[in-house]
């Protein structure tokens, strides 16, 4: 984990930080002069290593939210399952929620371990064509806490991208923790050579969630990641007894629909609450196969299958813009 050298003090800000060599924590560190001179801030060679490593990965998609608990990991897992239902495609799911890795449980892979080989870390396969990597596989107990500051988390993410032997992959889905901090910056930084196709943003209908989603959208704009679209999760609940719909999380400010209209972003779909989703996740099974007729499963399918088209369209749009700009400049 080169961002925090082995001989660095406890509060090392990281060698690529603006505070490198200058923070009070740097006093007495043997690397202080190097960091302060800026020599340690040269582009991280890992970016190029990762670019080369990921040439075998065709599409990279981030799943973001602003708020926690809105269903990011649930969506990431089920997007991966749905994409992997096409046997001809190779899918990879990377969990960069270092402190709260939920993906192993949702994918039914709790207790699995990661193996090392000559070509790097082997991800854990849940299907022949669906590989998963998470810090969850490196922890020996479900009680283990990962009490790491930013620089150490960044180092882990670098290793996940550089040292995992993903092989030939059609779609790499990256599940993130909520927020706009170290994990998000690191994913963007380390994939700056390899490229990110875009981000899907998950929200609930509530304003407290949308408030944070707007920040997430600003983040994407700042780091130049295309927003593929927004999904409104937990959107209504149909009572199994009387079949009336209730808005458990009322869209007091117009929900994701109004926000998407205001920001000119696609609303990819709305997914209703269904107790069977939570149950499937807890049991490590895909609810798309467990309860395929549930309104929530149908909503997911309606979001995910046009997804292929939206990615292709994204490529077409950027390709066309590239050609256009090229023509204009000549």
């Amino acid at each position: 984990m080169a961002d925090v050298p082995n001989d660095a003090p406890e509060h090392c800000p990281g060698t690529s930080s603006d505070q490198a060599g200058k923070s009070s924590a740097c006093q007495g560190c043997p690397n202080q002069n190097i960091c302060a001179s800026g020599a340690a801030k040269a582009p991280d060679p890992a970016i190029e290593e990762i670019r080369q490593k990921l040439t075998s990965v065709k599409h990279k998609i981030l799943v973001l939210s602003g708020k926690g608990g809105v269903g990011k990991s649930t969506f990431s897992a089920h997007l991966s399952h749905a994409l992997a239902s096409d046997d001809s495609k190779e899918i990879a799911l990377l969990d960069v929620d270092i402190c709260g890795p939920s993906i192993p449980k949702i994918m039914g892979l709790e207790g699995e371990q990661v193996h090392q080989s000559g070509s790097g870390w082997s991800p854990v396969y849940v299907e022949d064509n669906l590989a998963v990597m998470s810090i969850g596989f490196l922890l020996s107990s479900p009680d283990d806490a990962v009490i790491w500051r930013g620089p150490k988390k960044n180092g882990m993410i670098k290793q996940f991208l550089r040292d995992v032997d993903w092989g030939e992959v059609d779609y790499l889905i990256v599940d993130t923790p909520p927020g706009t901090s170290d994990e998000h910056l690191s994913i963007v930084q380390y994939l700056s050579g390899a490229g990110i196709d875009g981000a899907v943003i998950i929200t609930t209908p509530q304003e407290v969630s949308l408030q944070d989603v707007r920040k997430e959208i600003r983040f994407c704009k700042k780091v130049k990641i295309p927003v593929i679209g927004v999904i409104e999760n937990m959107s209504g609940f149909v009572c199994p007894k009387c079949k009336n719909t209730s808005q458990i999380f009322p869209p007091t400010t117009g929900g994701a629909q109004r926000m998407c209209e205001e920001l000119n972003l696609p609303l990819l779909g709305r997914v209703p609450l269904d107790p069977r989703i939570g149950r499937s996740c807890d049991e490590g099974r895909s609810f798309l196969t467990e309860v395929p007729d549930s309104p929530a499963a149908v909503a997911y399918q309606n979001i995910i299958f046009p997804f292929f088209c939206s990615l292709k369209t994204l490529h077409l749009v950027y390709f066309s813009l590239f050609i256009y700009t090229d023509v204009i400049s000549h």
């Binding site: 800000p13 602003g66 009680d143 706009t180 996740c281 807890d282």
Partner: protein, 225 residues
């Protein structure tokens, strides 16, 4: 009871909206930053990065060290005045924000932590790690709250366990922690928070109010003990 709320969720500060304090400016006095008061009697003081952003849609894209520095300031440089209780609302995880809060509060004594989970295993799975964090940092666990615990249909009163049921209580048993109680899913609670209204004042008869009150009383008794 004079209460302070310190919102250290720097990337997703929700407290200002939930307490309907709008976008007031934060002023300085000799003793430091003046907190924002949610009430004219100044019994509820708040500090959040939400008050420091000019544009509420602005993203706080900070790495750990910068977050740590601001949290240090929030603890040391805010003129909280005389408080009976300081509540600290944290983001999910066991990282910079959590370490920064503890480091800065050490000299002032931390009474303990209330841990909130939904009933599902995916949530309790993360709270187990949070419990380990508390044990490792010597923070007493005041108890576990199971939130979003069941939904009573307003049309037919059928209770549905939208996010499963009982996980919080099981977690408390498993880890030897106090189970503080369950709070149901309640659209009235969600809507009043969204609109910045005081749920306890608006719906004093609701069973959600009773559930929350019981939890509060249990926590307060454990502080007095």
């Amino acid at each position: 009871c004079a209460v302070g709320i310190l919102d250290v969720d720097l990337c997703g500060p929700s407290i200002p909206r939930m307490l309907s304090v709008g976008k007031p400016e934060v002023h300085q006095c000799d003793a430091g930053w003046v907190p924002v008061y949610a009430d004219p009697q100044q019994k509820l003081a708040i500090m959040s990065i939400g008050f420091l952003l000019e544009d509420s849609d602005e993203a706080v894209i900070w790495r750990g060290p910068k977050k740590t520095a601001l949290i240090g300031q929030f603890v040391s440089d805010v003129a909280w005045g005389e408080l009976d209780i300081l509540l600290v609302d944290t983001p999910p995880g066991t990282s910079d924000e959590h370490l920064a809060v503890l480091e800065n509060l050490r000299k002032h004594r931390v009474d303990g932590a209330v841990l909130v989970t939904t009933p599902q295993a995916v949530s309790t799975g993360d709270v187990r790690r949070e419990i380990t964090f508390c044990k490792k940092t010597a923070v007493k666990i005041l108890g576990i709250v199971e939130n979003m615990s069941g939904f009573v249909c307003p049309h037919c009163s059928e209770c549905s366990n939208v996010f499963s049921k009982g996980g919080g209580e099981e977690l408390a048993k498993l880890t030897g922690s106090v189970f503080l109680g369950s709070v149901p899913l309640d659209p009235l609670l969600t809507a009043t928070l969204e609109e910045g209204r005081d749920f306890l004042q608006a719906f004093p008869e609701s069973s959600t109010y009773t559930a929350i009150s019981q939890i509060v009383n249990t926590v307060l008794s454990s502080l007095d003990a």
